[in-house]
């Protein structure tokens, strides 16, 4: 059943287009894939000449909420996870995205846009794991 009360097709589509534009800018001007886990993880394996643009991209992400707040009210968020869950989840996301070479941006947006079979498999895998995890937490345990 669709959750019509929370479904936001237009703002989500518009935000998605912005993400696409950011991906396009980075690809065409810098020649690189806008994969967040790869850009961030690369900072933990520093290579000379490779640090500046990574820091800059991450800084842009970090200040986005400040810039957004200048023009509009930031959307309210609900975080159900407690501290323990956040730590376990963070560890899994950190290890998993690096081990699997990508996350929702690198495999999901970029990989699917370039029709990479490897990214299609990766995206299907993490989506499936996400569906199963939420089913277990919400409907079997919760």
């Amino acid at each position: 059943m669709i959750d019509w009360a929370h479904f936001t097709p237009w703002s989500s589509l518009a935000g998605g287009v912005l993400i696409g534009i950011a991906t396009a800018l980075f690809l065409l001007f810098n020649g690189r894939i806008a994969g967040i886990s790869g850009i961030l993880g690369g900072l933990l394996r520093p290579v000379a000449g490779d640090i500046g643009w990574r820091m800059a991209f991450v800084s842009g992400l970090l200040i986005a909420s400040l810039v957004y707040g200048l023009a509009a009210t930031l959307p309210t968020v609900h975080i159900d996870a407690d501290m323990t869950t956040l730590v376990v989840a963070g560890l899994l996301v950190g290890v998993g995205t690096r081990y699997g070479s990508g996350c929702t941006s690198g495999h999901g947006v970029c990989g699917l846009s370039r029709l990479s079979p490897r990214s299609m498999v990766a995206t299907a895998t993490f989506m499936l794991a996400g569906f199963v995890t939420v089913f277990i937490v919400r409907h079997l345990i919760g």
């Binding site: 993880g41 970090l62 975080i79 501290m83 996301v93 690096r98 370039r114």
Partner: protein
């Protein structure tokens, strides 16, 4: 120039994440909750991004150099292996538990209070664990053993 464009791309990416609602973990979990009240918004975010992305990658395929002069760095890995699947499973499980993936966590860090901060610290710790494991498993000493 490279650095400036990277900053701009990161900023626009972050604005897109916020506008799309993806910095709200309950919206992400709402999408992953197929058996409950389902919020399809995340599919629209991916759809909007991929719509632009397909055009961008088609344009990129016709170029040997990026506009700012660097060579194009597109992924060359094609193999579908154990690392890809296990990594995807771990990432998806963490994503479903908290409702955060790396982009939204970073975009929530400055104004979002303690929860995205704790998630991000744990995520960075996870990435460090990967680095250590990866270095160890690829070191010549290990291969010889």
């Amino acid at each position: 120039m490279q650095v400036l464009m990277a900053l701009l791309a990161g900023l626009v990416f972050g604005l897109g994440l916020i506008m799309s609602g993806m910095t709200d973990p309950s919206k992400v979990i709402g999408f992953l909750d197929l058996a409950g009240q389902w919020d399809p918004s995340l599919a629209f975010v991916m759809g909007g991004a991929i719509l632009v992305g397909v055009v961008a990658f088609r344009l990129a395929a016709t170029r040997s150099q990026a506009i700012l002069g660097e060579s194009m760095r597109l992924p060359t890995a094609r193999q579908i292996d154990r690392r890809l699947i296990l990594g995807g499973l771990a990432f998806g499980a963490g994503w479903g538990l908290a409702g955060y993936c790396p982009g939204p966590a970073l975009a929530s860090l400055v104004t979002g209070g303690s929860k995205p901060l704790i998630f991000t610290i744990a995520m960075l710790a996870g990435m460090v664990i990967f680095e250590i494991h990866d270095r160890f498993s690829r070191s010549p000493a290990k291969k010889a053993a």
